[in-house]
C-alpha cells in the first residue's frame, strides 16, 4: 500500500511539473508550483521524512510562492509567446542528459534495499550512538545540530548572506512618510480580518512549539523560523504592511539576523573558551548528554531567530519595493491582486 501511494504521488508530481512548464500565465504557474511543493511534501512524508516534509511545505508552498507572487506584481504577468522559437537544441540537450542519467540509475541499488551503500558506515553509527551520546529522540535534530553542526553553521551564514544580497539589490530604506497606504478598512473584508485574528496567534504559538519540541518530534529551528515568518506575513497581507512592520520594531528586526548568527557562532566560541574545540558541546556541562542538549538548544535558537527574521525582512523589502513603485495602492500591494 505504501508503494501504491508512492507511485501515484510521483505520477501526480510529474504531471504537475509538465503543467508548470506549459502554462504561460505566470500567476497560474506559481499556483501550480505551490501544488507541486505540497505533493512533494506528501512524498517526503511517505518516504519517512516528516522533518523534510514540514520544511518543504512551509518553504515551498509558503515563502517561495509569496516571494514569486511579489515579484510577478512588479514584472510581467504573462510569459511571451514561445511560438516560432527554435527548441531543437534544448530538447536534444535535455533528452541526452536524461538518457545518460537514467542509464546511470541501472546500477543504483533497489529502492529501500537494506544492503545499499547509503545505509552502511555513517548512518548506523548515528542511529546506534545518538541515544547514548546525545539522548534526544529526534535523530535528525541530533545529527543537524551536533554531529553536523558545521554544515548548519554554514547554512545559517548562507541565509544571512542572501539577506545582505537582497538588501544590496533592493535597499532597506523606508519609503518617505508622504506615500502611506492604509490597511484593508472596507467592511466587506471582515471575514478575512476575523479569521486572520483567530489564526495568526495560533500560528505563532505553533512556531514556538516546533522550535522547542523539535528534539522530540519533527521540527527544529528552520521550521519554526519559517512558520513564524509565515504568521507575520499573513498578518501583513490582511492588516497592511504598516501594521505588520510595527509588530517587531524595525530597528530590532534589522539586527536580529546578525544576532542569530552570533548566537550560533558564539556557542562555538564559548566552547572554545571553556577548553574544548569549536562547537564541542561536551564541555558545557558535567554529563555529556546534558551538555549536548544545552548546546543543541542554543544553536537551534540561533537558527530559528536568523531564519525567521531573514524571511520576514526579505518579504518586507519585496513588498515595500512594489508599493514604492505604485503609491496609493491598497495594503499589501502585491500578490497579484
Amino acid at each position: 500500500m505504501d508503494t501504491l501511494v508512492d507511485i501515484l504521488l510521483l505520477a501526480f508530481i510529474a504531471i504537475c511539473a509538465i503543467a508548470i512548464l506549459r502554462l504561460r500565465d505566470l500567476f497560474a504557474a506559481v499556483m501550480m508550483f505551490g501544488l507541486f511543493s505540497l505533493i512533494a511534501a506528501g512524498l517526503f512524508t511517505t518516504m519517512h521524512a516528516p522533518d523534510v516534509a514540514f520544511t518543504e511545505a512551509a518553504v515551498g508552498a509558503g515563502i517561495s510562492t509569496i516571494l514569486i507572487l511579489a515579484t510577478l506584481s512588479q514584472t510581467a504577468r504573462r510569459e511571451k509567446s514561445q511560438v516560432g522559437r527554435n527548441v531543437i537544441l534544448p530538447l536534444v540537450v535535455v533528452w541526452v542528459t536524461g538518457a545518460a542519467l537514467i542509464y546511470g540509475t541501472v546500477d543504483l541499488p533497489v529502492f529501500g534495499d537494506p544492503a545499499a551503500a547509503a545505509h552502511q558506515h555513517v548512518a548506523p553509527y548515528y542511529i546506534n550512538e545518538s541515544p547514548h551520546q546525545i539522548g534526544i529522540p529526534n535523530m535528525v535534530a541530533a545529527v543537524l545540530a551536533s554531529y553536523r553542526a558545521y554544515d548548519t553553521l554554514g547554512e545559517v551564514v548562507v541565509v544571512f548572506a542572501a539577506l545582505i544580497g537582497v538588501i544590496a539589490l533592493l535597499g532597506l530604506r523606508r519609503r518617505p512618510e508622504g506615500v502611506e497606504s492604509g490597511p484593508l478598512t472596507l467592511d466587506h473584508h471582515q471575514v478575512l480580518k476575523v479569521v486572520a485574528r483567530l489564526v495568526v496567534p495560533v500560528i505563532l504559538l505553533f512556531a514556538l512549539y516546533v522550535q522547542f519540541h523539535g528534539e522530540y518530534s519533527p521540527g527544529g529551528g528552520f521550521q519554526a523560523g519559517v512558520l513564524f515568518a509565515a504568521g507575520i506575513i499573513l498578518y501583513a497581507l490582511v492588516f497592511g504592511l504598516k501594521s505588520a512592520r510595527q509588530v517587531i520594531p524595525p530597528r530590532l528586526l534589522g539586527r536580529l539576523p546578525a544576532a542569530g548568527v552570533l548566537i550560533f557562532g558564539g556557542t562555538g566560541l564559548l566552547t572554545m573558551a571553556l577548553g574544548g574545540n569549536y562547537l564541542d558541546y561536551n564541555v558545557l556541562a558535567e554529563h555529556p548528554p546534558t551538555a549536548q542538549q544545552i548546546g543543541i538548544i542554543m544553536v537551534e535558537i540561533g537558527v530559528g531567530v536568523t531564519v525567521a527574521s531573514v524571511m520576514l525582512l526579505i518579504y518586507f523589502i519585496f513588498a515595500e519595493r512594489g508599493m514604492r513603485r505604485r503609491p496609493g495602492n491598497d495594503a499589501g500591494g502585491e500578490a497579484g491582486r
Binding site: 508503494t3 508512492d6 510521483l10 508530481i13 510529474a14 511539473a17 512548464l21 505566470l26 504557474a29 511543493s37 512524498l43 518516504m47 519517512h48 521524512a49 516528516p50 522533518d51 523534510v52 520544511t55 518553504v59 516571494l67 514569486i68 511579489a70 515579484t71 512588479q74 514584472t75 510581467a76 510569459e79 511571451k80 514561445q82 534544448p90 530538447l91 536524461g98 542519467l101 540509475t105 541501472v106 543504483l108 533497489v110 529502492f111 529501500g112 537494506p114 547509503a118 548515528y126 542511529i127 541515544p131 535523530m139 535528525v140 541530533a142 543537524l144 554544515d151 541565509v159 542572501a162 544580497g165 537582497v166 533592493l170 519533527p218 527544529g220 528552520f222 526579505i314 523589502i317 519585496f318
Partner: protein, 120 residues
C-alpha cells in the same frame, strides 16, 4: 516489482529534466527561476529516496521500533531546502532590478537592448 525498483529515481530524473528544460528554453526570467525550483525539488526527492529503508520508519526514537530510515539525507536536504529559498529570493531580487533597468524580463528583449549601439 522489478519495474518499480528504480521508479523513484526515474521520476526524479524526469522532473529534473523538466525543470532543466524550463530553465534553458523559456525566455521569461521568472519562469526560469520557477524551473530552477522544480529542479531543486527533484534532487531532494532523489536524495530522500536513497535514504529510505524498507521496513524502516521515521528516524525518531520510539518504543517498539527497531529499524529506522537513514537520517543523514534528511539533514542534508533540510539544509538544501533553506539554502534554495535563500537563492530564490536573491534571484527574484535580481529579476526585479533587471525589470526596473530594462523595462522587461524577457531574455531576448534584454539582449536586444544590450546589443543596440550606444547602450553601455
Amino acid at each position: 516489482m522489478s519495474f518499480f525498483a528504480h521508479y523513484n529515481y526515474h521520476i526524479a530524473i524526469i522532473l529534473a529534466m523538466i525543470g532543466f528544460y524550463t530553465m534553458i528554453s523559456r525566455t521569461n526570467l521568472v519562469k526560469k527561476i520557477i524551473g530552477l525550483n522544480v529542479f531543486q525539488v527533484s534532487v531532494f526527492i532523489l536524495f530522500i529516496s536513497i535514504g529510505v529503508l524498507e521496513g524502516g520508519t521515521v528516524p525518531i526514537l520510539r518504543e517498539g521500533y527497531e529499524l529506522y530510515s537513514n537520517p543523514l539525507p534528511h539533514v542534508l536536504i533540510l539544509t538544501a531546502i533553506v539554502v534554495g529559498v535563500a537563492m530564490t529570493a536573491l534571484a527574484l531580487a535580481l529579476a526585479i532590478r533587471i525589470h526596473e533597468a530594462y523595462g522587461t524580463v524577457e531574455e531576448d528583449e534584454i539582449h536586444a537592448q544590450d546589443d543596440e549601439p550606444g547602450a553601455q
